[in-house]
């Protein structure tokens, strides 16, 4: 089966090459038989990659340790749940997953748009095929998941214990789905540029795709934060690690695109900008992979260094030249249909919102690469860590939060003073009341005060929009309030889903601001000894060390330290933090011992207890105790964000707007729009 997988990869390589050549030829010559061939080749490519993926999965599940990848990432006693995640735990498997997901999305895009966008689809097929050619070539020439060893070891090395966490089962695939699904909007953008069909029609084809990408990226990032928080044990969820940054960059540009595309759909403006954002998002998704594979920047997420980094660099440069070269070529055809009438308008606020998002993306990109730049220009190595990113990005983030509140309040085209007064009254009141209240209770961190006040402003904006819309429906149609609310959202899913996303963002900002009040301490306790830790809310945690126990569990040997916790004298629970020494099937230790954190969480704060180790092999334990305010809001903010994205994505609603359809008409798209 493994050999079949290997052969399937090689055939995929040639089929994808064929599809790319034929796809572009079909687009250029308008020959339908070539277009059909390109389309079918994409489906064949997908089938072959499924065969390769099944072959690798079978090798993993049957412990075929003669396959180097299987021996490197699994062991006989690895739970099946994690054997599944070993598929993408290493570089070779993740490349196969990437190729499979790109071809899946490509096939779905072609199926969904069958019979529509006839001038675009051959180019779309060709572009998707080129992306697959790249990934498959990287595998067959440099990093083959089916590579065999010269011998068969009795057991594999096993999966890194830090990856044996449910978060790692879902977080990487979500990010891969996010990264790879950007290939579809990119392919449509390239197709629109090559074919010259540059009206809003191609935007209709990719609207849902961009949302899907954004949603997967959002979920992937939040799940990654959750994994880092519960598994790594350092007491935080975001470390501005280069690879975290790499996932954040396309998310920022996609978020900018989701806003600016509305201006193009409604007003026929920002066409160049939108194509530029789609190209940039695709390039940044490849850039993230380049960072993890090249070893150019040191990161805890990096795969072992290999020549695969060069493949990614070359592909990145070629894709940038192709994308931006085509954009430059079609520049004259991308003129705005109308002009901006006033900066005090919805369009104006979206412009500023895009500007801030891109500046944040630039600052993250710049900070990530600055060590390389400094070393190249000055020969001096520097570290760019969280203090830099927080210093630079906190003011920019707060500006973005302000614009999140302002945008929905301003009318399209031009806002009148009366409109502004009426719209801003309650949100600004919420802002001022919050700021005054926090100042009155002497909140010490001014950045946090500003963040909470602006959060209140955004919540005021969103609530006002929901309340006014519901009241208007109630008065106009005589509907009951709950029904009016449901219909309001149901009939304007894009708009109100977007507002729900804004609420999720406020929850995330509230959580980030809470970090200013984090408290951490280390303590050594003998069994029966206690320590008191003060919370920023004023109460006291009384933590008593109960003892340390050792036992074998699944594929590991566990050393568990247990504490009883009282808050202001009231028992709130027993918490257990562990050291886990993983064992192979022969009972031999593998990897260094890892840590399992004990977390007591509620909406106000997390008590985060880490068993740091035993003193001289006794039950005397060292604990790191951290109080993390408002972490709960990160996870639930992420959920609200995803919910908002789902509402926006949900089929039905109004579909492309009337103005957007009118704009598509001259290009001949209208009859094809679903």
């Amino acid at each position: 089966m493994t050999d079949i997988g290997n052969v399937a990869l090689w055939i995929t390589f040639f089929v994808a090459l064929w599809a790319s050549v034929v796809g572009f030829l079909a687009g250029r010559t308008h020959r339908p038989e070539l277009a059909r061939s390109a389309e079918r080749s994409i489906f064949v490519m997908w089938g072959l990659l499924v065969i390769a993926a099944v072959a690798l999965m079978r090798a993993l599940l049957t412990h075929d340790f003669n396959v180097e990848y299987v021996a490197a990432y699994t062991s006989r006693n690895l739970p099946v749940f994690y054997t599944w995640s070993a598929f993408y735990a290493g570089q070779k498997g993740s490349l196969l997953l990437w190729a499979l997901v790109v071809s899946t999305f490509g096939s779905v895009a072609l199926l969904v748009n069958r019979g529509k966008y006839r001038e675009l689809t051959p180019y779309v097929a060709g572009t998707i095929a080129i992306v697959v050619v790249f990934f498959v070539a990287t595998m067959v020439f440099a990093s083959n998941p089916f590579e065999r060893l010269g011998f068969t070891p009795p057991d594999g090395r096993g999966l890194n214990p830090q990856l044996q966490n449910p978060g790692m089962v879902f977080h990487p695939p979500m990010l891969y789905l996010g990264y790879t699904s950007i290939s579809v909007p990119f392919a449509f953008a390239v197709a629109a540029l090559l074919s010259g069909r540059l009206d809003t029609g191609w935007l209709h084809a990719i609207r849902r795709w961009t949302l899907v990408s954004w949603l997967f990226l959002s979920c992937g990032i939040v799940l990654g934060m959750w994994w880092a928080y519960v598994e790594l044990g350092w007491g935080g969820y975001w470390a501005w690690d280069p690879v975290e940054n790499a996932s954040f960059l396309p998310w920022l540009t996609m978020t900018a695109f989701l806003h600016s595309v509305m201006i193009q759909e409604k007003r026929g403006m920002l066409k160049k900008w939108n194509i530029g954002l789609v190209v940039l998002s695709f390039l940044l998704s490849i850039f993230g992979t380049f960072l993890t594979r090249s070893g150019v920047i040191s990161s805890v997420h990096s795969f072992s260094q290999s020549n695969v980094g060069w493949f990614f660099l070359v592909f990145l440069v070629l894709a940038a030249v192709l994308g931006f070269g085509l954009l430059a070529w079609r520049w004259p055809m991308l003129q705005a249909e109308v002009k901006l009438e006033s900066l005090v308008s919805r369009e104006g606020s979206f412009l500023f919102n895009n500007l801030i998002l891109i500046v944040i993306a630039f600052s993250v990109f710049w900070g990530t690469l600055f060590p390389v730049i400094s070393e190249a220009l000055r020969g001096t190595k520097v570290t760019v860590g969280p203090p830099f990113f927080n210093l630079v990005n906190v003011p920019l983030g707060l500006m973005l939060l302000l614009l999140t509140g302002i945008g929905p309040l301003i009318a399209w085209r031009r806002a009148s003073p009366e409109n502004l007064r009426r719209q801003f009254l309650w949100p600004v009141t919420a802002l001022l009341v919050t700021a005054a209240s926090l100042a009155a209770i002497r909140m010490s961190d001014w950045w946090s005060v500003v963040a909470y006040a602006l959060g209140a402003f955004v919540v005021g904006t969103v609530v006002q929009e929901f309340v006014r819309g519901t009241l208007a429906r109630h008065r106009l149609h005589g509907e009951m309030y709950p029904l009016a609310f449901v219909r309001l959202v149901g009939r304007n899913r894009r708009r109100y889903g977007g507002y729900v996303v804004h609420l999720g963002m406020v929850m995330l900002f509230a959580a980030f601001a809470g970090l200013a009040f984090k408290r951490e301490t280390e303590v050594t306790l003998k069994p029966g000894q206690s320590v008191d830790v003060k919370s920023p809310y004023g109460w006291t945690y009384h933590i008593t060390h109960q003892g340390v126990s050792q036992y074998e569990q699944l594929n590991r040997y566990v050393t568990a330290a247990t504490v009883d916790v009282l808050r202001n004298g009231k028992y709130i629970g027993t918490m257990r933090s562990e050291k886990r020494q993983h064992l192979d099937s022969l009972g031999r230790p593998t990897f260094e011992p890892s840590t399992a954190v004990a977390i007591h969480s509620d909406a106000r704060e997390d008590l985060y207890v880490v068993f740091a180790g035993a003193v001289q092999g006794t039950e005397e334990a060292v604990y790191r105790i951290t109080i993390n305010p408002l972490v709960w809001w990160v996870w639930y903010g992420g959920l609200v964000l995803a919910l908002g994205g789902l509402i926006t994505l949900w089929p039905g609603g109004q579909g492309p707007t009337a103005a957007s359809r009118r704009r598509a008409e001259p290009a001949g798209y209208v009859a094809q729009v679903a």
């Binding site: 790594l232 350092w234 007491g235 470390a239 805890v300 002009k339 900066l343 412009l351 801030i356 500046v359 600052s363 600055f370 060590p371 220009l377 001096t380 190595k381 520097v382 570290t383 760019v384 860590g385 969280p386 203090p387 830099f388 210093l391 399209w412 009148s416 409109n419 208007a472 106009l476 280390e522 050594t524 069994p527 029966g528 109960q546 003892g547 340390v548 126990s549 050792q550 036992y551 074998e552 050393t559 247990t562 009883d564 027993t574 020494q581 064992l583 022969l586 009972g587 230790p589 011992p593 840590t595 740091a612 180790g613 035993a614 092999g617 039950e619 005397e620 790191r624 009337a658 103005a659």
Partner: protein, 201 residues
Amino acid sequence: MWRRSPSLLLALACGVTAALAAQAPNADSAAISNAIRTRPGDSLGRLAVPEAAGRPAEVVTARDNEELVKAIEHKIRCTCGCNLDVFTCRTTDFTCSTSPAMHRMVLARLGSGMTEAQVLASFQQQYGEMIFMAPPRHGFNWVAYLMPYVGLAVGLGLVGAVARRWFRATPKAAPTAPGAAADASPEELERLKRELERFEA
């Protein structure tokens, strides 16, 4: 071969007992801990397999928790390659022997009467600028801090220039009649807004 070791089996038995005890209601666990305290000889049991608990830990002193020590250690990077600051690494990566050594250096230097600035300077002298978690704000490093805001300024300039060009190209719209909106009821305004949006959108 841990699985075959008798000591491991013993530890397993003790561990299961202890784990069950830890899962018991609070009253029970309190009773267990009280029992341990009443028997001083047993109060500090030894682990059956100490190496399974990771790197041997050192007793934490009050100095380890001093805010000044934490502040310094949050500013310097552990050189083990983990990308974490010294405080976070030594309290998180329990396989790292570099960050505890750097922690001892911080304590020793503070103990010798150095100020925070002098301790940081001594680390810079020893390891270079890369020892800091963020580039020190001098010379070329200012480029790192200022570029995002230069980018913002350039972006604002571009938006301003493009907007000015657009405004010049657009004939002035008739001003909105003052009070026209104020005469409408909220539901009429809402309806108008939505009709306009439907039309425009």
